[in-house]
């Protein structure tokens, strides 16, 4: 062969040279073997890691639905017009050069004797920012105008964005309508720094409806712990049910493997770990009732501050829970607030983010006379005995008098109840029952304690033990008899009325019933229905008297003894507005004298219906209403009208859940 021919010839030196060259070749071959075979695994791995990117694919968040599968929260795609700032570098540079020239012309002192230009410290930076703002502002205006939604650039927001995250595209018009997407694609895409960006977004289609209950989600970055090449934002529950049931709703994000070429373009993509959509959760809320409650509440008073709880007394299910004023949770999702909106959200008087139905504790006022009344009856009060009221209560000559809208006259228990006589209930409460007994009954109904509806948001209120009552604590026994100075939440009062309606069972209220997996259809109970919290002992005779007295509140006609405090609101031209749907209720008005308070008065109407077979408890609270009857009873009437509609459609009438 050709190499070995040389060895056949004589010439030792040539052989040596051949040997040296052959040794060199062998060394190269050895190197080749080492690289290609020994280290092959390692290089293969390096090359793979270099070419494959892991992209996190966020899971679709579960929906929130009401008891008849109306959607309260869901995901939908959001289209944004965005601007790629790195593509604008040439324009920025051009504009900067022009501005600099103009500046030098306007300031001749910047040119020294030798013709050299010296700009003061900071001036180039200012000019650069001005140039960037001018270019981006121009783009923003042109694009938004062509989308028929002219916008001006918020320069501060832009500069902050440009300073902090220039690699993220700058948003110029969010949430494009389909027609706008078409215009954008036709006029702008492919020829400029403008692009269309798509992202899933949490949507609350009913806007402020039940917002305090649902809460909202917020965009979250970096949730992948830096494990991935691209950080896709997703949503994290930030308040309300979105926060409490975040784990159920969020699902499991997956991973895609993207093969890229040497220029970082995508060549091939495949699913490594598929994502698992989150579960839908079903509430006990009835959207129609919720809507009726919120609308009625908003109309109750000019600035509509208040709360409504509608509960099923048979199992503690919450059918509606309204708090006004409310907010649009959609605003929180993307965090685009107008200054007015931010101011409104931060207003200490309106506190739209507080769920007044369970996070607000209010003096129950005259609705507390139910408790005082039971305490008196259990202490031997004869309900038929007549009491001659002077029309006010004064504990001693120097003390201030407590007024009484019931006026002076003769009162038995029932009349004192439906006319809401302060003097009767203070006198009887102190003489017959005593403060300790009254507070004991209040504790029996678990007033001033959290109901256990939610781990968050709920406050306990304040119903003290009798040892904590006295001038030194800023509380007086006569005030407590008529529900002043102590506090409870509307939700607690709904529980109290439910006990009266169902004859003695206090349920743990429930707002979430079950979850359903969208992929497998598997249903899982999240909160058991009808969990009994306590059995409240009341003598049937006493219960009956309280119930009939509450009925008189709405039904006692204006004769020489009447009318009932809510009669006027439940009747039109002498006929009951709700027909034969009879409602038992109690009005209340509490005055608040503490200096720091945001309200002067709290008005109430606590009720249940239908009287014969109670299926609904409606508790209405309005801040600074005229009175319980005038401000709150009309709200309750409107809600009962919605309830009648609901029953006609077949919902609610049969026992909704086969418990008890």
């Amino acid at each position: 062969m050709f190499v070995f021919d040389i060895f056949k010839e004589d010439g030792r030196r040539l052989q040596v040279i051949t040997g040296v060259v052959a040794a060199g070749m062998l060394t190269l071959l050895g190197g080749l073997w080492f690289v290609q075979i020994v280290c092959a695994k390692q290089f293969e791995r390096t090359s793979r890691d270099n070419a494959i990117r892991h992209v996190r694919t966020p899971a679709l968040r579960g929906r929130i639905l009401d008891c008849s599968t109306n959607v309260l929260a869901e995901e939908r795609p959001l289209y944004n017009a965005v601007l790629y700032l790195e593509d604008l570098q040439p324009q920025f540079g051009e504009k900067y050069a022009r501005l600099r020239k103009e500046y030098i012309r306007a300031h001749p002192e910047t040119v020294n004797a030798k013709g050299k230009i010296k700009l003061t410290n900071g001036v180039p930076q200012l000019l650069r920012e001005e140039a960037e703002c001018a270019v981006v502002s121009n783009f923003t205006y042109c694009v938004s105008s062509s989308l028929k939604e002219p916008r001006l650039l918020n320069t501060n927001a832009f500069l902050r964005h440009h300073r902090e995250e220039p690699y993220v595209p700058f948003l110029i018009v969010p949430d494009l309508a389909p027609a706008q997407v078409a215009i954008l694609a036709e006029q702008w895409l492919g020829q400029s720094a403008i692009d269309l960006e798509t992202e899933p977004v949490r949507v609350y289609p009913n806007h402020a409806l039940a917002a305090n209950l649902l809460g909202y989600v917020q965009r979250r970055y970096g949730s992948d712990g830096g494990k991935f090449s691209f950080d896709m934002p997703d949503y994290k529950g930030a308040s309300g049910l979105e926060l409490v049931y975040d784990e159920t709703l969020e699902g499991q994000s997956g991973t895609n493997e993207v093969l890229i070429n040497n220029l970082n373009y995508r060549q091939h993509e495949e699913v490594e770990i598929p994502n698992e959509p989150g579960n839908d959760i079903y509430l006990t809320i009835d959207m129609a009732l919720q809507k009726a409650a919120e609308q009625a509440l908003a109309a109750a008073q000019p600035d509509g501050r208040g709360a409504v709880v509608v509960m099923d007394p048979r199992n503690g299910d919450i059918l509606a829970m309204a708090s006004a004023p409310s907010f649009d949770p959609n605003l929180f999702v993307l965090g685009h607030f107008t200054p007015e909106e931010s101011a409104r959200l931060g207003d200490p008087k309106y506190t739209p983010q507080i769920n007044r139905a369970m996070s607000g504790a209010y003096p129950p006022g005259s609705t507390f006379k139910i408790i005082t009344g039971i305490a008196c009856l259990e202490s031997g009060l004869d309900p038929d005995a007549l009491f001659d009221s002077p029309g006010y209560y004064r504990p001693n000559k120097t003390a201030r008098a407590i007024g009484d809208t019931a006026g002076q006259g003769k009162f038995d228990f029932k009349r004192a109840f439906y006319r809401s006589s302060n003097t009767y209930f203070i006198q009887m409460g102190l003489d017959k029952a005593g403060l300790a007994k009254i507070l004991e009954v209040a504790k029996r109904f678990h007033l001033g304690e959290k109901t256990g509806l939610s781990r968050r948001q709920e406050v306990a209120g304040n119903v003290p033990g009798p040892e904590k009552v006295g001038p030194s604590f800023g509380m007086s026994a006569p005030d407590i008899c008529i529900g002043q100075e102590i506090t409870a939440t509307p939700l607690q009062l709904a529980g109290m009325i439910s006990v009266l309606a169902n004859g003695g069972t206090l349920y743990v209220p429930r707002v979430v019933s079950h979850s359903r997996s969208p992929s497998t259809g598997e249903i899982q109970e999240l909160v058991a229905p009808g969990r009994v919290r306590d059995h409240v002992q009341i003598e049937p005779g006493h219960l009956d008297l309280i119930r009939t007295s509450m009925l008189e509140d709405t039904e006692h006609a204006p004769d020489d003894k009447g009318p009932g405090s809510a009669y006027a609101e439940f009747h039109a031209n002498g006929a009951p507005i709700l027909g034969n749907f009879r409602v038992a209720g109690k009005t209340g008005t509490a005055e608040v004298k503490s200096a720091g308070s945001q309200f002067k008065k709290i008005t109430w109407f606590d009720s249940y219906g239908p009287y014969e077979d109670p299926r609904y408890v409606v508790v209405v609270m309005v801040e600074d209403g005229a009175s319980g009857g005038k401000a709150c009873a009309p709200v309750a009437v409107k809600i009962y009208q919605a309830i009648l509609k609901r029953e006609q459609s077949g919902l609610g009438r049969p026992p909704t859940l086969a418990h008890n």
Partner: protein
């Protein structure tokens, strides 16, 4: 060239060499294709390579018809012409990558290697006794150092050292005594270790 003896002895052709060259050509094209496939601007680079192969094969075939004995007569001309080119680099050359090596896009040091090999082969083709003389050794040393220093000053140490290696290997094969070669190797060793300091 029209010698019937030469034309008739086709079997003497070095087919393994041709096969090796063909193999290298195929591998080279494959490597270029693989490396440039994903880059639009370079996608046709392998076609250019094949074009050059065509030219190269033509040149090789032409060279085969050339009687190599006659090259010896021209070797001195090649050698001195390449030395002139090396000198011309200083006057006309352009600088890239930190060295002044190019003249009209060509590196004269590459031609100098060929010219140097041809001339040295011609010069060393003499009887063993003459090769033992110090005069011949010094002459070879001189022919080596001339291009070596010119290339070293470009500066291009890598190419310059090639002249030393070629010279050493050729003298060794030609039969220059070991002690002289050992002296040369020792001298280069001293020079380079001094140069490194």
């Amino acid at each position: 060239m029209s010698d019937p003896e030469l034309i008739g002895r086709r079997s003497d052709y070095d087919w393994p060499l041709a096969a090796a060259v063909l193999g290298l050509m195929i591998l080279g094209t494959a490597f270029i294709f693989s490396a440039t496939e994903s880059q639009a601007a370079l996608r046709t680079a392998y076609l250019h390579q094949m074009l050059w192969y065509g030219l190269g094969v033509g040149a090789a075939v032409a060279a085969c018809y050339f009687e190599y004995g006659s090259v010896a007569r021209w070797s001195a001309v090649f050698y001195w012409a390449s030395i002139v080119l090396l000198l011309a680099v200083y006057a006309l050359g352009t600088a890239h990558h930190g060295g002044k090596r190019w003249i009209f896009g060509l590196q004269p040091s590459e031609f100098a290697k060929i010219g140097f090999i041809l001339w040295l082969a011609n010069y060393l083709s003499r009887p063993q006794e003459e090769l033992r003389r110090g005069k011949v050794f010094l002459a070879v040393l001189g022919y080596t150092l001339l291009p070596f220093i010119l290339v070293l000053k470009e500066p291009d140490v890598g190419s310059a050292l090639v002249f030393l290696a070629i010279s050493l290997a050729m003298m060794f094969v030609a039969g220059v005594p070991n002690r002289m070669l050992a002296g040369l190797v020792g001298g280069v060793g001293c020079w380079s270790s001094w140069g490194w300091r």
